[in-house]
Symmetry: C2
Subunit: 429 residues, 2 copies
Amino acid sequence: MMVSEKQENPSILKRGWLWFRDIPSKPIAKLRDVARRAIKVAEEDPRRLIHSLKVGLTITLVSLLYYLQPMYNNLGASAILAVMTVVVVFEFTVGGTIGRCLNQGLATLAAAALAIGAQRLAILSGKRSEPYLIGLFVFIQAVAMTFLRFFHNVKAKYDYGVLIFILSFILVSISGLRTNNVLNLAQARLVTILIGASSSLAVCILIRPVWAGEDLHKYVAQNISQLGNFLEGHMDQCFKTLPDVGIEITKPSIVNLDSILVDSKVKEETLADLAGWEPGHGQFMFRHPWKQYLRIGNLTRQCACRLEPINGYLNSEFQAPKEIECTIQEAFTESRKALKELAWAIETTTEPSSANPHIENLKITSSNLKSLLRSGIWGDQSDVLQIIPVAAAMIDTISSVEQIGDAVKELSFMAKFKSRTAEIPERCD
Amino acid sequence: MMVSEKQENPSILKRGWLWFRDIPSKPIAKLRDVARRAIKVAEEDPRRLIHSLKVGLTITLVSLLYYLQPMYNNLGASAILAVMTVVVVFEFTVGGTIGRCLNQGLATLAAAALAIGAQRLAILSGKRSEPYLIGLFVFIQAVAMTFLRFFHNVKAKYDYGVLIFILSFILVSISGLRTNNVLNLAQARLVTILIGASSSLAVCILIRPVWAGEDLHKYVAQNISQLGNFLEGHMDQCFKTLPDVGIEITKPSIVNLDSILVDSKVKEETLADLAGWEPGHGQFMFRHPWKQYLRIGNLTRQCACRLEPINGYLNSEFQAPKEIECTIQEAFTESRKALKELAWAIETTTEPSSANPHIENLKITSSNLKSLLRSGIWGDQSDVLQIIPVAAAMIDTISSVEQIGDAVKELSFMAKFKSRTAEIPERCD
């Protein structure tokens, strides 16, 4: 403000000052932007911040090995390997960390054993041919293991292990050419990896653990619930189910199904893979049927794909003969209720019996809708292109909801969900 | 066969022999299974085998550093780091390898510089407080960088670099506590990484390179073509367009759209990210509009989602009033032709002008279909639930095809595709 008084003809000095003053503003704006995004990332899931602190803590703890003289005397320079291990194995979820620790440990063990065997074999063949044989072994091993990484099931769960196998095999077998105590080297590697992996595991599980299984469980339930929200949003917009009383009610906005359609599959598969490594925790036993969640997820996506076109047809001007409109509205209501009940049943790990009446109603509604449409009572023929696609989508959606209901029922059976009537004490005879 | 002669009462000796004979059969069966799967993996994409051989070759070449005395004298034990670098940076595509090399190089450089700075600062503060300060720096760095990995755009392209940054910072700063020649250590690390990274890059680019950009280009074109195949398969099944001549024609089977709906998004985004690292190659310049392929991919998925429900409605008993059937059939034919032309235009990097007449026809067909349906000429009312959803899906599909056409046109403009008329020499005035 003070600058504008002399804005017409600012002196060179003033101009220079303005230029000088603006130098730091760009990096500061950039920093502020990064800070804003960091806050957003942390707000989306506060466990991310806790995870970062956990990693920092573990790294600092393990690097004590390097600071403390007695520890350093025993392990020597390879103590640094323990810190490296923490950096690469510490994952966000417990399942991820366990999977990486097991991969790292087993791959190092197997590779070291094989490499020592290869080295002994090479020594037997004589001093001159030793490097050639080692070179050949390294080549064959690298080609075979790199090719193995293309196998679909290896890539999903053991990709990291295969990489560590290649690294360890090369390290141990090649080092054998320069030092005689390969066994010592392999042993030091194993001990340091053990230290790094066990501290990571301890911190990961003991301080505010993030379970992949629990995340998957909640995520699948939440997606089903989202479908319900989608129906609710459309219902209120088309059929004006909300009472027109004086009080302003915030209408539920239309839910976007894109995240379910596009991103959910990869997320669910990753979580299910990670959950497979996890021990029992909370309400989930060790061999919880995680695969069943993938089935439910697939059906949820199918249902979303069937509901999605409705977006284009339903708007506030949706008009159909009264009877058809009522039936479609009932299909909406019952589907929404059934989906909500199913989501709630998963969330609370109780049997989905409360969804049954809604699913029964849906079956009736579906056949009603079909016979209504076939009977040909079209008030105004010009609406046929709006009504039938919506009706057809609803008929498809109803069969999807039924399938989701069956899949959730199967899940509740496999995972021994609590019975709804368990609270009611049994009558004594 | 020979065993079965005495099957009624085989002697103990024979039984023992049978048991003994079967011991190796299980591992052999397992091996045979693995071999069968390996052959399948290699047949799906023979470049995988070549890639594995390339990795083996590079690793063996770089490990020569360790075998040869003069090289070893210069680099010492850290020569092994060059081999490690090859193992971690050598990716399937050129883009992946370049990205990893840049990440590794820049992250190591930045981390080493920062760590040396931190170490100097700690030394200034006095001998006693040095380890505490280093510990604090390591902690802060680890927390900040781990948190950074949650940022969406960092995760997509720089996740590996951040990991290497954490590792290098810890290595250099902590090693400073035990050795005085931190600069030497950092230098040796950089040199070995440079050797490993440059040999990986050389082998990756010079011997049968796999370009992520080219893969993306072909993949997007192929998916559009798949939509065309889907329409073709349905057409032949429902409208019996194939002539019933004596010669047995193998009908095109119904194409499954699942792979487009489910897996394509992740694959396309990964390839586009990798392609961003690649230099110009073949018909693609350095800044080829890779993002536009993602747009086309999204529209292709949308179209697939609209076409998918048709599966449930169309079967050999599809019957509609002649006029409607003809219009729907025309929508099928023109959509198929337009999609095939668009796919062909992308594949051959020529302007998609040949798709224009089909798209124009589609616009007319779409409005014809709409007015036909609104006019209400329903031969038999009972088919309305089959006809209208198919017709509605086709109307949606047509608008999708138009959008794909526009997006491909934009791509051809951005990427300067060859003009169709380029071959015809211009007339001299």
